[in-house]
Symmetry: C2
């Protein structure tokens, strides 16, 4: 069990025969240090393998190279990818990441953010439960970036996905491949993100001069059994759909086997949100990549920009990460 107490600035200063302050100056690249002195101190630092103490710095300076990330849960595939990207980008900039799961509890979310700020995190990235999630939470000067969902906070950036584009792109893609009767399998459009996807679907239909058959819009699928029923009913229509869009990954995991079970492998499918097995099915499932990586990258970028220039004014408080369709086969089937 190694027991070396790390060297302090004092040790470095003694070794280089200068005052602690001068050593501190070298550490902080203060230009007011003679080149020779600087070299001597740097040498001492190297030979003592000096590492600055973050706690002391943080105490004195009031800031720490730490960014807090508060999300629904790290266990969620979407968020885990998101965090992975954030972590790698912030790491490159010398920041460490503190994670905390809100479990979709708004009170807990507020407490976590507050405690992270208290901990002198330089900034906080939050997937807000609601737009007003952080109202009244004391934030000192820590910049906040919202991800995945829009948050209202003066000066804070929100990085979200183009939900409207998801719906529209999926629909356009199917229309381009000759489909006219396109079904939408979705959870209840009460959440903003779902609603926007519906709007995208309708906009694309409208733009192509197609009428939306409301019997094809299934906005009531919450679990897998709902999906199975929805698919069955859709297939039993006089004029069944030739294509289906599923609005989220959870539903896709139900749609795919249901369609298959129904023996309708000829039915075109586009899934919003990529998933593991998508590529290895046959035909492989065409998806709209709801890319956690892209959202994470944009969020990390926004955070780094705010950290670098805390006074910056945002061009637009909401950054939208574009939709990207990955054709794999199932979405390119002709009617």
């Amino acid at each position: 069990m190694a027991q070396t107490r790390g060297a302090t600035l004092k040790d470095v200063a003694e070794m280089a025969k200068v005052s602690i302050k001068t050593a501190s100056r070298v550490l902080n690249d203060d230009p007011a240090v003679a080149a020779s002195t600087r070299a001597a101190v740097a040498q001492a630092m190297r030979s003592l393998d000096y590492q600055p103490d973050p706690a002391a710095r943080s105490l004195r300076a009031g800031k720490d190279r730490l960014v807090g990330v508060v999300i629904d849960s790290v266990g969620d595939v979407f968020f885990s990818q998101l965090v992975a990207r954030i972590e790698s980008m912030l790491d490159a900039a010398g920041y460490r990441v503190l994670i905390a799961s809100s479990n979709r509890d708004e009170q807990r979310e507020r407490d976590l953010v507050q405690s992270l700020v208290q901990r002198r995190c330089a900034g906080v990235i939050v997937a807000p439960i609601s737009r007003s999630s952080l109202d009244g939470v004391p934030l000192r000067d820590a910049p906040v970036v919202f991800v995945d969902r829009i948050g209202d906070l003066p000066g804070a950036q929100s990085v979200v996905s183009d939900d409207f584009g998801f719906g529209r792109t999926a629909t356009e893609h199917l229309i381009e491949h000759g489909h006219r009767r396109i079904a939408l399998v979705s959870d209840a459009p009460v959440v903003e993100t779902t609603r926007r996807r519906h709007e995208g679907y309708r906009a694309a239909m409208l733009a192509a001069g197609l009428e939306v058959d409301e019997r094809l819009v299934r906005g009531n699928c919450d679990d897998r059994s709902d999906v199975v029923r929805a698919i069955t009913e859709l297939m039993d229509l006089d004029e069944p759909p030739t294509a289906v869009i599923s609005t989220n990954t959870r539903l896709s995991l139900g749609v795919v086997p249901a369609v298959r079970q129904y023996g309708r492998t000829g039915l075109a499918v586009v899934a919003i949100g990529d998933f593991d097995m998508a590529e290895s099915l046959s035909p492989a499932i065409t998806v709209i990549d709801h890319s956690p990586t892209a959202v994470g990258a944009a969020a990390a970028e926004a955070m780094l920009a705010s950290l670098a220039d805390p006074t910056r004014t945002l061009d637009d408080p909401i950054v939208t990460v574009p939709a990207r369709l990955i054709p794999r086969g199932s979405g390119e089937l002709r009617p």
Copy 2:
């Protein structure tokens, strides 16, 4: 932008008309405080909404309620689940979690651990790249817990999965359902975990008095195309297998469609490692749950125990999380 600088112990002390030290005593549940004083201080703390400053505490006390977690990547499904569980358990004990991805780079792993320790993390949980990953890293007194893979460090606990049990349980299960010709689809058994799974398979066969037909052991599948070829060749044998075990999730994602494509839905399948679509296929895939949650829970528990009693001696440096088979249909098919 709220700007309240939080209250300090000094403010609390002034309000309660006691010295800072006494306020500190109350904060730390020091018994040497009169009940009336304690009440007054507690009252002041409440009315000022006092929160202790972690940086100052950490500086003075040399410890912080922070646990570092170093894993391959948070983006990996296995590790993200693992971290989620660790986070929720440590959170309940008042610890915050700092994550860092090693990207399977041993040097980076060492640097990260060292920097976390320097940061005064109370403990570190590591998925070691190799057994000797942390040799020579100065650890002060921070307890270390290894997860998923065994690490060598005097006094450190390793929490791993029962790879041998995975292989044995899968095999036994199929034998119990009447199978005699059981194939094993696997990546190269060079990694310790894979090798142990093979050993489990052989042990179960031996115990049942069955001879292992080496043509059924396919230890050369690295990607999906290898899997397809392996399945094809297995099916072309004079006496094809009636059951297949796939040794990891990645391979399962290839085995399942391949078997299906081959029209052999009657072939029994047991997959080591659970995956998303497993439940929604038909028949659903029987899996051995290589449970990140269970490993995470055991690791968090070990960490909390070490934190509570740093001098404790381990019963066994290696804790093995047992295998758990989840029957879903595909593994219960009769030959």
